[in-house]
């Protein structure tokens, strides 16, 4: 998060990846970039298509201009003439069609493009990411909003704007373990409940220990979790809430027709036994996992080999994505997860529930513990960890190696092959002129790229300042202080840091760079005691006891300058809001020397909110300070660098008046 939540977040990661590539650290044990996720299942949610622009398995959401499946496949299938490049995305057609078969079932046939027209589409240039959504919400473009397992009133950058946006809604459904600052936004600080017309519905949901399912960490390891206790009170697992909603919405579409009923009416929903009304009585998580893995819809035979070999039998679970077909004979909800819930010797195996403790060497890969996408490969691009002959670059930490004398355990005959982790394809090492393959199988040219296309802010990382920053000029590029490709919500002309004064812009989006009113760089972070905005942890008395209040950390030098002592009450103010915090003067912060001048930084956690603890002693979210601006590529908000002022205050700062 410290790397990504910047206007140059993607390029930060890119720069680090290039360094790893240059160091030869790709595909190596302990190499690559380890994303420290902000949430334990971020990987899983992204894998399964949580983001607005990707379908499950990192397939692009079609744009409205692409009206038929063939065009979609052509546009998103890269081509290469180099026989050594695996170019894995050339399988796009298999994955999208299997996906359509999974979600629309028998309704998806070749004649109707497998239901391609029912997929939601993005208008050309449309962006549905967080900052844009709430911008539109504030401008009154939304009627309703499902706040599902989130607390935007505290987690969203520029939370004052977010809170104001919520007031523009007609209705909001808050799905969470507890009521939170979002569900109760209408009675929060600065709100007048009489003037707010938003109708809020609270749907209490079960916690992770009250339901079964998988969770995927940033090592792509999908681990199955079991239900420890029954959900408390009226709370239900998310899947049950969706089940209820789905059948009610579907019924309405069936009765009333509506503008576009097909995607809802044709959706498969075979997750358990149906009651008399046609509703699933209880959602069986295993059935969802199986749908994600995929089924053979017909008996599949590989006729290219002699004698023809059976690939799979009708109705059975797919072995893995290698067997997926582009003709509608297979279904798969998320191709990268194909093989996670499969069949071995006609026995159904939930690979994610495995708990084997055998390791490869002592690398800590534990290939029999749970399951890793793709096809249980623990380290991707692992063919980059060997030389042209398949010999590991680091023999002490061998991920894979080519064994020309490998014995086939069944036939007891020599069958050269790879040993160790699951390799990126069975092809022999690159020294094999005929069959050798490049290691970067997801890249069209099969090579790692230092300079190349794909990102809106250029082929190579470039230094830009944050939107709000303490220096007038980018020392590395006098023309562009901030990235010229960021989407600005406020100010549109000239050097991007000059806010335009003309009407039509929201005052909520204002920012202040090199402004003496906000002289200190601020950043936000987490504490180990609290989870995200603290909705789950602030209700936990032990955690609140150990981390009770909003604080602001600063260097001894800054504290001395401002006459602040540890424990003092501080008002932290940005161009968009202010919060109260307790000063923590620490040696862990040091002033920076930036182009000759001293720059001070302060740090704030963002785990607190006005609603709980009930006496208000926790303080409010530090996202009240952060600006509405995001990364050029992802629009991830820039909450890790913005400008504030701090001021010692005398009055009791916490507690409701």
């Amino acid at each position: 998060m410290g790397w990504t939540q910047h206007t140059v977040g993607t390029q930060n990661i890119r720069a680090m990846t290039i360094i790893q590539l240059l160091l030869g650290n790709i595909g190596m044990a302990g190499g690559g970039i380890n994303a420290l996720r902000g949430e334990s299942n971020v990987q899983g949610s992204t894998d399964h298509g949580l983001l607005f622009h990707i379908l499950p398995g990192y397939m692009p959401v079609p744009s409205a201009s692409i009206t038929d499946l063939q065009t979609y496949i052509e546009k998103h299938t890269p081509k290469t003439k180099d026989p050594k490049s695996v170019n894995w995305w050339s399988n796009r057609n298999k994955y999208i069609i299997s996906y359509l078969k999974a979600i629309y079932g028998s309704k998806a046939v070749k004649e109707n493009d497998f239901g391609y027209s029912w997929l939601p589409k993005l208008d050309e240039g449309q962006n549905g990411s967080w900052l844009v959504l709430f911008d539109h919400m504030l401008k009154g473009k939304f009627e309703g909003f499902f706040a599902w397992g989130q607390n935007p009133a505290c987690s969203g950058a520029n939370a004052n704007k977010t809170r104001k946006a919520l007031a523009k809604l007609k209705w909001m459904v808050n799905v969470n373990l507890f009521d939170n600052e979002t569900g109760s936004f209408w009675r929060g600080p600065g709100m007048n409940p009489k003037e707010i017309q938003t109708e809020v519905f609270m749907l209490p949901c079960a916690s992770s220990v009250e339901k079964e399912g998988s969770i995927t960490n940033s090592g792509r390891l999908a681990q199955w979790r079991y239900k420890a206790i029954e959900p408390i009170g009226e709370s239900k697992p998310d899947s049950e809430i969706m089940n209820e909603l789905y059948f009610r919405v579907k019924k309405l579409y069936q009765k009333q027709g509506g503008k576009f009923p097909d995607p809802i009416i044709n959706l498969t929903w075979n997750y358990g036994e149906k009651d008399a009304g046609g509703k699933i009585k209880e959602v069986d998580t295993h059935k969802i996992a199986k749908e994600i893995n995929g089924y053979y819809l017909e008996d599949l035979v590989d006729k290219k080999v002699t004698p023809p070999k059976t690939i799979g039998k009708k109705g059975h679970l797919c072995t893995n994505f290698v067997t997926l077909q582009a003709d509608g004979t297979t279904s798969c909800g998320c191709w990268i997860f194909s093989g996670s819930y499969t069949e071995k010797d006609d026995k159904i195996v939930n690979m994610m529930a495995r708990r084997g403790k055998k390791d490869i060497g002592d690398l800590g890969l534990y290939p029999e513990w749970a399951w890793c996408w793709p096809i249980n490969r623990r380290i991707i691009y692992n063919r980059a960890s060997v030389d042209l002959n398949g010999k590991p670059w680091d023999p002490k930490r061998t991920v894979i190696k080519w064994n020309p004398n490998k014995l086939d355990p069944k036939t007891k005959q020599t069958a050269p092959g790879w040993e160790g982790d699951v390799p990126d394809g069975p092809a022999p090492p690159m020294a094999d002129e005929k069959a050798g393959k490049y290691p970067f199988i997801m890249k069209t040219d099969g090579r790692g790229a230092i300079f190349g296309p794909g990102l809106v802010d250029g082929p190579f990382p470039e230094h830009y300042e944050a939107l709000e920053c303490p220096i007038q000029e980018n020392p590395l590029s006098s023309k562009h202080r901030i990235s010229p490709t960021v989407k600005l919500f406020y100010g549109v002309k000239g050097p991007h840091d000059a806010p335009a004064e003309k009407g039509g812009l929201l005052p909520e989006d204002v920012f202040f760079s090199c402004d003496i009113r906000y002289p200190y760089v601020a950043t936000t972070y987490r504490v180990s005691e609290h989870w995200q905005t603290g909705v789950m942890t602030r209700h936990q008395p032990w955690l609140l006891e150990s981390m009770p209040q909003q604080f602001v950390e600063m260097s001894e030098e800054l504290a001395k300058e401002k006459g602040i002592k540890s424990g003092d009450k501080i008002k932290v103010k940005s161009g968009r809001g202010e919060i109260m915090a307790v000063a923590v003067v620490t040696k862990r912060f040091k002033p920076f020397k930036v182009v000759g001048s001293t720059v001070h930084q302060v740090g704030l956690p963002w785990c607190f909110g006005w609603q709980y603890p009930e006496d208000g002693s926790g303080g409010d979210s530090s996202n009240l300070l952060t600006p509405t601006i995001g990364d050029s590529n992802t629009l991830i908000p820039e909450t890790k660098a913005f400008m504030v002022n701090i001021e010692k205050v005398k009055e009791e700062i916490y507690g409701k008046k």
């Binding site: 180990s528 008395p541 032990w542 040696k587």
Partner: protein, 263 residues
């Protein structure tokens, strides 16, 4: 390890491995069902600011600069479970007992609330339920009830970086010595608790001198109860000799008087 119930148990805290996550603090509260005392930020991450009757173990955060390098140390504190505990010897009613397995046990039903244990403990571990009308002392139990079931203490179990290890005292002492021997540059050559107060069941390893982390360095190496026993053990002799001497003096000094009165 825990199965070997006959041998005394011990635990080793390798402070170089602690990440300050406070998992131990919370796990302890959870297992021992401890309540919460309202806290505020005091300008340091240590919270609550010290052990109390509802907090048996916690992390203290120590920040310092050495050779211009910032150091942030996390120190887990809990009862040291001395081999020969001052609290056991101080308690007038035997509410504290050192169990043969190692934990220093406390029976609240016996306690009269004199708080001499709190005065006597060199590590300031026993804490009092000041807010209660009928208070007793509280302290870390070494999860004796878990250990008797073959489990390991809650704090040890929860520690993500395995900064705390649990085993027989012999094992963990050997491990501590091994770590220092194998990595003499990393650790200071001092196993805190090996000799302090005559030895404790909990041992610490550190990469910086213990005094810089707030550990008490002036604790005698001999068991503290010896100090009082040196005085107490003389009582029978004192009583006997005093009785004799006083009787003799009284007899000699009053001899004439008695004769007079008798006449």
């Amino acid at each position: 390890m825990a199965k070997n119930e006959k041998k005394p148990i011990g635990a080793l805290i390798d402070l170089t491995k602690c990440i300050g996550c406070r998992g131990c603090q919370i796990a302890c509260k959870s297992w021992n069902n401890r309540a919460v005392k309202k806290t505020v930020m005091t300008g340091n991450f240590t919270n609550p600011i010290d052990l109390n009757s509802e907090t048996y173990t916690m992390i203290k955060y120590v920040e310092k600069e050495q050779d211009a390098l910032m150091e942030w140390d996390f120190i887990k504190v809990q009862c040291m479970h001395c081999k020969n505990p001052a609290c056991v010897s101080a308690c007038p009613v035997g509410a504290f007992q050192k169990s043969p397995e190692g934990p220093v046990m406390y029976e609240p039903e016996k306690c009269i609330g004199c708080r001499y244990c709190m005065m006597a403990c060199p590590f300031q571990i026993p804490k009092y339920e000041w807010e209660k009308v009928s208070p007793v002392v509280q302290k870390c139990t070494f999860c004796a009830e878990r250990i008797s079931e073959g489990l390991i203490p809650a704090c040890v179990k929860t520690c993500p970086p395995k900064a705390i290890i649990f085993g027989t005292y012999e094992e963990i002492l050997a491990e501590a010595e091994k770590r220092i021997k194998e990595n003499p540059k990393k650790y200071v050559n001092h196993i805190y608790g090996k000799e302090e107060a005559g030895g404790t069941s909990w041992l610490y390893l550190s990469s910086v001198p213990f005094e810089t982390l707030g550990f008490k360095m002036n604790i005698p190496k001999r068991p503290l109860p010896d100090l009082t026993w040196a005085s107490l053990s003389k009582i029978p002799v004192t009583v006997g000799s005093l009785a004799l001497i006083l009787s003799a003096i009284a007899y000699i000094r009053n001899r004439g008087e008695n004769n007079k009165e008798e006449k």
